[in-house]
Symmetry: C2
Subunit: 749 residues, 2 copies
């Protein structure tokens, strides 16, 4: 177990680094009293929403923890020890009985949920404390503004990564060493942690996504369209809610999303490691994901710290450039860390897995570029949409849809290549006793973990987005000088790109991860029905249960998206009515003589968002369970394995397996469409606003022209696509895997 | 082989009935000289497009036929005879050598393509000859107008069904009896027929879909929006192209779509019958699908003939009512026919398959109602979209998208229930030697064939759509009395519903059929690699090739849709420029003193549509082949079957299998979304135009108001969704199955 000592060191380093960053940000100048006034309102609104949201999530989590504890306790048969000698795997006596397993699963669920919530809460706290400081820094220099915004964002990024690493390691140690259980069954015992993380992520992303877009759409429709006042105008009662929304969606929501990715994929990779551990007796295969993530943390600290050195304060540099340089440093150091970790830990044929990890790192770089191509203004796709805006909103929407659907190609092909290549390379590794399928799947796990090494950096760039967005709003509302606004505007545009990048990264990691999480689910089923881990369990698409499950899985992602989009409309309606009421009852607001009741608008948005997240949330959690139960009890078939074993009534888990796997494919494609089409519509509008569209006579068709109005329609349509439905789909995909992993016993007859 | 004599009788009956209908329609009054003038222009335009389109398709088909003949000849190992005794199936000597097989496949392909083209051509001929006669009839009575339009449509419906039945039977007889081959290998020899039908359908639907929407969008944007003249105004040079488009999309396109459905599913069902024939020695299992379809033809003749008796000329009756009554008669008689056919042909436990067929008939009824609920004005979904139009085009699009995605639920659940239930019922049938999997899959095939029994009726109602739509246009352009326009308007609205129904029916049959066609593909693979037909060949979703293939399959349906939508924009651009040119160069057109050059607009639309159908067409045909080849040659794995057989290098066909199956699921869901959202947007606009939307003070917000303008945007966006992308996806789904069925040897190492 060499290198395992790195895990606590890295966890501690990440926390200390986050504390130092937080200290550095908080000690900075908070700006003018006007800036502080606006920032305080955003802070209060954000924290109020977060408290209310987490209170709701806490109650839901507690109930769910009890329910899953009882279900697992009641239907499981306990966890069997694994005997491993002379290369074959046998199951021995039950070492953790069913009620112990239920209790441990419920507690792990709560622990995962708590870690996720804690990371989100502290990250948000610093993020909304960084915005006025960024606004203030922007009155002085670009360099300082970038530094503050990036460090503020990095607090969130590092906390998320650190808490996930510490959380998974702690619960693993507790459930194995502390309780005296075999490490081989440890990963199966901690799956509740991943489910807890998914559960919080689902509601955090849904609630945050609905909040941010309801506030945005509501503020725009009633402010810009009805009252004719500009964006971020202090007379608009919903303006603070809009600024709060950026934080709760992009910071807290995406943080929970990636917290879940890392935790669930880490646990899934450990489960896959068990199959190799069982034949080699080397625990390194199980704990390798933890060590690799530790190297990722060190690489990210180095990369982030280097960014300020690349900033040139000459007014010409694209602020994206220093961020990209930092990212390259993270990737280069990750490769070094990957080399050390695989060489030391993964046996004689470690290099195969080193190549797998390289593929993962390359995939993350590929997605950074793919997203930029499809969503930033300099390239063909956005220009095409801007051009189509000339003939009105309908052609803007039609062309945008075509572009958005086209983007699935690069995503699917990249993921397919990464998966097949890492599987093929992994299966080349010759490990006596472990079949090529086992090492191949492990290869895909190493690729996924390689991709996630840079998660803290990506997440820091993501949270950079709402901080700079807010800084722009604060600059606008506090009447700061135009030079500061120029700086925040350039940062805001970079923030849009980094937010889009993060979504691409999250989709790709979800796609890669699906395969490993699915294999982990099958390992869990094998463990339950007593099939050796190195045997194949066919989820045959020609089986009617698998096919029907797959159909229902794709349907789930469509209907879930429908509910998420509808939730935004419904919540926006509440805000529109509140703003109309305030304008009607106090004419002083429009005159600029009385201050609108921002707090009430924030409050109403929060309530509406939370109310509207229930339906899609229940569908996401309930449908896989319902399908599993219906197929388990309504169908009666048998399945014959390659070794002749006959398995009775497999329909429940077969349907669930089809649902998870095919639903994941559908979800990855649909989320890609939503994220990219929304980003492209947004940037097509910005492209026109920047004066890049000209008519046949060379006259600029900018803000206020008919093409611009058409582009605004596209942008508005894209809002719930890219910030509510798309990101919620990432979470849904991973939730499907973790919920079925935990609930597996329920679907097995 | 009892009842087999019914097949030629039914084929002949259908042809004679179609001839009688055609005679009846053609002898009717052609209307005023003005009507005839317009009708002649539509006729010429439609026939010119059809000739040009079929010439293109003919060349493509000839080349493709030669290519697939050569490929099959070069890579296949010939077809082996099947020995069947004491319940086990063995493969014997090669009875059709590889070059014979290549030749037969190529010829079958051409024959299938020719039958499809012939059916489309004659159907279109009568359809565009029926429009002025319907317009003329509308000046006299509703009853006469319905009768003419429905009979005109029925010519197309019956010819499509008859030519498919006659074509499949003829080629089957030729390749077995005439050439002296065993009937058991017959279905494998005629798969080329299904591929030929798919091939023509793909280009017919794509070309027709692009034509109709490019003309529609082009005519609207430049006529209604730019020039401010009403729809169907004779001054618009694109008006004839628009009317021609209705025929080439809904009549020729949909006809080819359903021709393909029936042919491919019929052949697939026959292949599945071989597995039971091989153990029972009863050829009935193979030819049963032909007999069942024959009963469907008789039922449809009775149902269609009864419609005029239900029409009440009291001005109050909804014209949908008599059409529904006719449909009930078809369904009731189909149940009788199903009972006779299963009882006589399918052994002692025939009743299980009778139940399967009932499920198919019930599914077709269910889809008729689901489509009506989601796309007609009386129900919640359309009202919701109309309401959302109040806040502008963006909310109209957002709400429409949410509604469209929601509709996938009913579709997926209905198909899943139908599939699982028919499989479960079929697998109850105890046939010695045939496993429950074999009889279960046969059960789904019986359900699919049961659903298709009413195809001729559905198709008649579908073609009713463009005929009444054209009749409305002719009435408008020829200045007929308002009473006639009132009648054609009411028929046009019914036509919209029947067109939407047909799409729902086509999607459902594609979904049901996927399972049986996929099983047929696996049977073909088994036959090639020498695995007994009753053994299971696992297409394991946990296999990386299957998963990657699935990902690429869903990507294919998204990218194909993107290309189809983009093709409409691109072709519309050509028309817009032509109309602008005509307006500019001849001011007499707008003044009404000179006649626009309709022919040139028709010609340009045709060229643009054909040019733009190439890219999506090539993608659809090329990608499955490319994926199969890449995986076959780049990957090297082995697959172990349940009986211990080791299969080398299965990656090619595994990836293709994943692609077809998961791609089909994605395609069914996406097509459902496109068809329903487009229909709902269209009817939300009509709902507002009919004066059903009122503001808070009860004032009607009708034509010309802001909500109406917003609804027009939604309707325009929906046009390429529902009439190009959606219907082309149906065809793509089935093409995926038939192309892989024919090309299977190419993917097997």
């Amino acid at each position: 177990m060499e290198l395992i000592w790195l895990v606590p060191v890295a966890g501690l380093a990440a926390v200390l680094y986050a504390l130092w960053l937080a200290h550095d940000v908080l000690k900075r100048d908070m700006g003018t009293p006007e800036m502080q006034d606006v920032a305080d309102m955003i802070f209060e609104g954000a924290m109020a929403f977060l408290r209310r949201q987490y209170a709701t999530i806490a109650i839901l989590s507690l109930v769910t923890a009890v329910v899953i504890g009882l279900i697992v306790g009641a239907v499981s048969e306990g966890v069997k020890a694994i005997d491993y000698n002379d290369g074959s795997i046998e199951y021995g006596a039950v070492t953790v009985d069913q009620w112990e397993e239920g209790l441990m699963t419920g507690l792990a669920f709560l622990f995962g949920a708590a870690c996720s919530a804690l990371a989100g809460y502290i990250g948000m706290y610093i993020s909304v404390r960084s915005n006025s400081r960024t606004a203030s820094a922007a009155t002085r220099s670009l360099k300082e503004a970038i530094t503050v915004a990036l460090r503020g964002g990095a607090v969130s990024g590092f906390l998320v990564v650190a808490l996930s690493l510490i959380g998974v390691s702690t619960i693993f140690l507790l459930y194995t060493e502390a309780l005296g259980n075999d490490e081989a069954i440890g990963p199966f015992l901690i799956v509740g942690f991943g489910f807890g993380a998914s559960f919080v992520a689902l509601f955090a992303q849904l609630g945050g996504g609905i909040y941010t877009k309801a506030a945005d759409v509501g503020a725009d429709l009633v402010g810009k369209v009805e009252a004719g006042i500009p964006e971020d105008d202090p007379r608009n009662p919903a303006v603070i809610a809009d600024l709060v929304g950026d934080n709760v969606g992009d910071c807290a929501g995406r943080g929970a999303d990636l917290f879940e990715s890392m935790s669930a994929e880490n646990i899934g990779a450990m489960i896959l490691g068990v199959a190799i551990y069982a034949v080699t007796g080397d625990l390194e295969w199980v704990v390798f994901p933890l060590v690799l993530r530790s190297f990722g943390i060190f690489a990210t600290i180095a990369g982030l710290s280097s960014v300020p050195f690349f900033v040139k304060d000459d007014g010409k540099q694209d602020p994206m450039t220093p961020l990209n340089f930092g990212y390259y440093i993270v990737c280069a150091l990750s490769v070094v860390g990957l080399g050390i970790a695989t060489n030391v830990m993964l046996g004689d044929e470690w290099y195969w897995f080193f190549f797998c990890g390289l593929i993962g790192i390359a995939t993350s770089i590929a997605f950074v570029y793919i997203t930029q191509y499809y969503t930033s203004g300099g390239w063909r796709p956005v220009k095409e949409i801007a051009d189509a805006s000339r003939t009105g909103p309908a052609t803007n929407i039609i062309t945008g849809t075509a572009v958005g659907m086209e983007t699935t190609a690069a995503t699917a092909i990249t993921i397919a290549i990464a998966l097949v290549a890492s599987f093929a390379l992994g299966s080349e590794a010759d490990i006596p006793g472990a079949g090529s399928f086992t090492t191949g799947v492990y290869g895909t796990a190493v690729a996924t973990m390689g991709m996630l090494m840079s998660a803290a950096y990506i997440l820091s760039m993501d949270t950079f987005g709402p901080i700079t967005d807010n800084a722009g709003g604060i600059t606008e509302m506090s009447g700061a000088p135009a030079s500061a606004r120029h700086i925040t505007d350039s940062l805001d545009s970079v923030g849009n790109t980094t937010k889009a990048l993060t979504k691409g990264y999250a989709v790709a990691s979800a796609g890669l991860a699906a395969f490993l999480l699915f294999s982990a689910f099958l390992d869990k089923v094998k463990e339950r029905i007593g099939v050796p881990l190195n045997d194949e369990l066919p989820i045959n698409l020609a089986n009617v249960d698998v096919f029907a499950g797959g159909l229902l899985g794709v349907m789930l992602v469509f209907v879930f998206s429908s509910l998420a989009i509808r939730a935004v409309s419904s919540a926006a309606q509440d805000i529109i009515e509140e703003v109309r009421r305030q304008f009607r009852e106090d004419p002083g607001i429009m005159a600029g003589t009385s201050r609108p009741d921002y707090g009430r608008a924030v409050d109403i948005t929060a309530k509406a968002a939370l109310r509207n997240m229930i339906a899609p949330g229940v569908l996401a959690v309930g449908m896989p369970i319902a399908v599993g139960l219906v197929f388990r009890f309504m169908r009666s078939e048998e399945l014959v394995l390659a070794n002749g074993t006959v398995i009775q009534d497999p329909s429940g888990w077969l349907a669930v397996a089809g649902m998870v796997m095919v639903g994941t494919i559908g979800g990855v494609m649909l989320a890609t469409f939503f994220n990219n089409v929304g980003g492209a519509w947004d940037n097509a509008k910005k492209y026109i606003e920047a004066g890049n569209l000209k008519d046949e006579n060379g006259v600029v068709e900018g803000k206020g022209t008919e093409p611009h109005k058409a582009a605004v329609v596209g942008d508005t349509v894209g809002d719930p696509f890219k910030d509510t439905a798309g990101p919620s789909l990432h979470v849904l995909i991973k939730l499907l895997s973790t919920i079925t992993l935990v609930m597996a016993p329920l679907f097995i007859a």
